[in-house]
Amino acid sequence: MGLLINTAFGLYCPQADVYLDPWKPVNKAIISHGHADHARWGSVSYLCTTSAAPVIKYRLGDINLETMAFGEEKRINGVSFSFHPAGHILGSAQIRVSYKGEVVVFSGDYKTVNDGFSESFESVKCHTFITESTFGLPIYHWTDQKIVFNEIEEWCSNNKKNGHLSILYAYSLGKAQRILQGISENAGPFYTHGTIEAVLKVMRNQGISLKNTIQINENTTRTELLNGLILAPPAAQNSNWLKKFEPVRQGIVSGWMALRGARRRRNADKGFVLSDHADWKGLNDAIVLTGAENVFVTHGYTDILSRWLQDKGLNALPLETNFEGDEIL
């Protein structure tokens, strides 16, 4: 992979002197999306998609940020870079890098199914594909999100009947918007934790239409909350935030909830299996569709997915990263 090399700072393109999702400060960084393990603080200049930019700016502060629409091309010292929808969250991109006819695609995080909110995943032909593998095991296959939203709605209405508040823990960037988009208005009104409300505000300002939400403050009463559904980031689960609203029922919305062990470890009342990453089938389909002869597997079950791809006759190797496993919630 001469076009891109793996360094202590992250994936590096020497020809263009550019890093992809670097985990340490560099000169020029191209960012796949705004999650904290991909968009890190401290680099001199950044490039990301137009729709991902507002959140990245909100999170990283006053940075030197250039944007580019999906499908546009930018040339740096003869190397061509372009963004293609990864379907992971709003504005998330696969990064296509090509030089003298050689094409490498860095997937970033992706999912192949359309969630009705993020730009839909688009397959990009390449010689080398660097794929994530967060859920790269055959035990993971996602059910249609409609079914999951129905489960959530039923759970909320049962809680209401029993006088319990419903609180859903979901990533503030990505999952929270996907839930708001997909869930029935009847489950509302939707109350939010400040962290989630802040991201929603950024997106509303960039012209994205989202259901109405009410941020919880010190004057919010239990009676109000009982009528609706609360959205909070996973980190709020262990804080005293909701103590005064007991009894509450807590649900976690995450792909990890597919395993009983993970559900029990998180100590939630209910786990809803909904992920913004590709499942086993999604990963396999995406890899085949690129037509790549070389596959590098990163972020997740790298060894296992590589071996499986090797069994299928592909040139596959694990690509170690510094932040492997960080996304275990």
């Binding site: 055959p138 395993l259 492997e324």
Partner: protein, 531 residues
């Protein structure tokens, strides 16, 4: 089986006792009797006989899922539960079929007499007609071991409310050797004496751990003290000329200890004794592993008997002259027990656990600190006026163990955990330095840290991996942990020459570097002291 699935998920999802009890009652009110009794049987460890080997289940599941066996095994390692792994891997069902719990269990039992090929087809059929949750339960019914938080106490509470019978009576009925193949729900709960009730044990009275003497508010003279024996809790039953031995795990272990059969010569029929099976030879208590050999071996041969002699040390009398005397104060039960021992043949391996004399709590502290010299692991404190309760009851029986041993050791290998800890590195191997500076692994430990600490250590492990062997990572020898354990023994199997009992992590010694950990020499000193 829908109701059973629902029950299972509710029990798993909630940590609240009341909700669990309600879910059990809800289940009992919704299903026919045969499904009721199977539920009770399954949650008390009485599962149907295994008809399919797990080896075949793995092979068939891998084949049916279209994945190679290595990938099946990798998945299993991460999920940590075979039934769940299979349920998750299989392709979606063809048509979902609803059958009752009893129907599925009969289906599984009927597999026993089939050819292997037919067995496979029938298992495939079942998988094809169940969704993920149904398959999981089906697989569990085959492999057994639901390992769910349904304590006997919980089950008793639910059944008592459902059937409107006294909890103590229910607890008694649930004990012993019964199976849904020989009992139905009605006979199980009926007041009639059932067949097999001669062997039925009483629920064990369990002690709470005492952390400090302050928990004992009462007068010292209200208490009896005994040594806390480190063996296997057992109940010896003598009824109608027959003898039975039960373990605390409600297993009939009569055949594992044939030498106790001779007690019948000295103990009158209509007697039930509570006590400890102890590894014992010529006046002294032996290390615990002798008794493990006795329990784990399928066949108890003459050499095993000879190398691992045992005695039964009695501390309570539950039935006397065919009468249940559990409601008498401990003092009176103990008097009757002393009387019984006046006529016991002294050559039998049947002994009385002595009552220790003390006049103040200070005396107790001294007694406890010298308890290891007598081959015990601390003291038992029992209220003189306490009845023999069913299960754990606070405030009447206390166990007051000696403080465990601790050493500081260095983390060298990490492996991801199972079940609740799947996905996290939680199984750690620890080492100490030998005299010539070699790092020698000497124990594994799994538990004792908080989830937060595990996450932090996981992060560290990923950044400090030196080598990988399958699921195991060798890490930089840098982090120091305090390991607590209950005992230390010589071991020829380990290069370090020692083996620990009940090792667990007490704390992460962030204040220490590897060079400050204990050494192999320290461990060998502990070994000498332990003897």
């Amino acid at each position: 089986m829908r109701y059973f699935e629902e029950l299972f998920h509710t029990l798993e999802e909630t940590t609240k006792t009341n909700e669990k009890v309600n879910a059990l009652i809800q289940y009992l009110s919704s299903v026919p009797d045969e499904d009721k009794i199977w539920m009770i049987a399954i949650f008390s460890g009485r599962r149907p006989k295994r008809t399919i080997s797990t080896k075949n289940l793995r092979l068939w599941a891998a084949e049916k899922s279209g994945i190679p066996l290595w990938l099946f095994e990798e998945s299993y390692h991460i999920v940590g539960d075979l039934s769940e792994t299979i349920a998750l891997l299989l392709p979606p069902p063809k048509i979902e079929v609803q059958k009752s719990l009893n129907d599925w269990i009969q289906y599984i039992i009927s597999l026993e007499k089939r050819e292997e090929k037919d067995q496979m087809d029938l298992v495939y059929n079942a998988w094809d007609s169940l969704n993920t949750s149904g398959r999981f339960i089906f697989n569990k019914l085959i492999t057994g071991g639901f390992r769910l938080g349904v304590s006997q106490k919980l089950m008793v509470k639910a059944l008592a409310q459902f059937a409107k019978i006294e909890p103590n009576e229910i607890a008694l009925k649930l004990m012993g050797d019964w199976s849904p193949l020989t009992y139905n729900f009605e006979t199980l709960l009926s007041s009639e004496q059932n067949e097999g009730s001669d062997s039925r044990p009483y629920p064990f009275h369990l002690a709470y751990p005492l952390n400090e003497l302050g928990d004992l508010k009462e007068n010292p003279s209200d208490w009896y003290a005994e040594y806390k024996w480190d063996g296997i809790r057992g109940q010896c039953i003598f009824r109608k000329g027959k003898y039975f031995l039960w373990s605390r795990g409600e297993e009939l272990i009569t055949d594992k200890f044939p030498e106790f059969a001779s007690f019948i010569r000295s103990v009158p029929s209509g007697t039930v004794l509570d006590g400890e099976i102890l590894p014992y030879k010529e006046g002294s208590v032996l290390p615990f592993h002798h008794i493990q050999t006795r329990v784990t071996r399928k066949k108890i041969t003459a050499p095993i008997l000879k190398e691992n002699p045992v005695a039964f040390r009695v501390y309570d009398l539950l039935e006397w002259k065919n009468k249940d005397i559990r409601s008498l104060p401990f003092m009176e039960r103990r008097n009757l027990l002393d009387q019984l021992f006046n006529s016991i043949d002294a050559s039998l391996p049947l002994q009385l656990s002595p009552i220790l004399s003390f006049s103040s709590f200070e005396d107790l502290i001294k007694l406890r600190s010298s308890s290891t010299e007598n081959g015990s692991e601390g003291l038992m404190l029992k209220n003189k006026y306490s009845p023999y309760a069913s299960g754990r009851k606070r405030g009447e029986w206390w166990k007051w163990k000696i403080d465990p041993f601790t050493v500081d050791a260095i983390l060298i290998y990490a492996q991801s955990g199972h079940g609740r800890r799947a996905n996290l590195y939680t199984d750690f191997t620890f080492a100490v330095f030998s005299e010539n500076g070699e790092l020698l692994p000497f124990t594994k430990a799994y538990s004792g840290l908080t989830d937060k600490e595990f996450l932090e250590i996981n992060h560290w492990i990923k950044k400090n991996t030196l080598e990988r062997f399958g699921p195991v990572r060798k890490v930089t020898a840098e982090l120091v942990f305090e390991i607590a354990f209950e005992g230390i023994q010589e071991s020829k199997r380990h290069k370090s020459g020692i083996a620990l009992r009940f090792p667990r992590m007490v704390r992460w010694r962030k204040d220490k570097v590897a060079a400050e950990a204990n050494t192999l020499e320290d461990l060998h000193l502990l070994l000498k002291k332990g003897k």
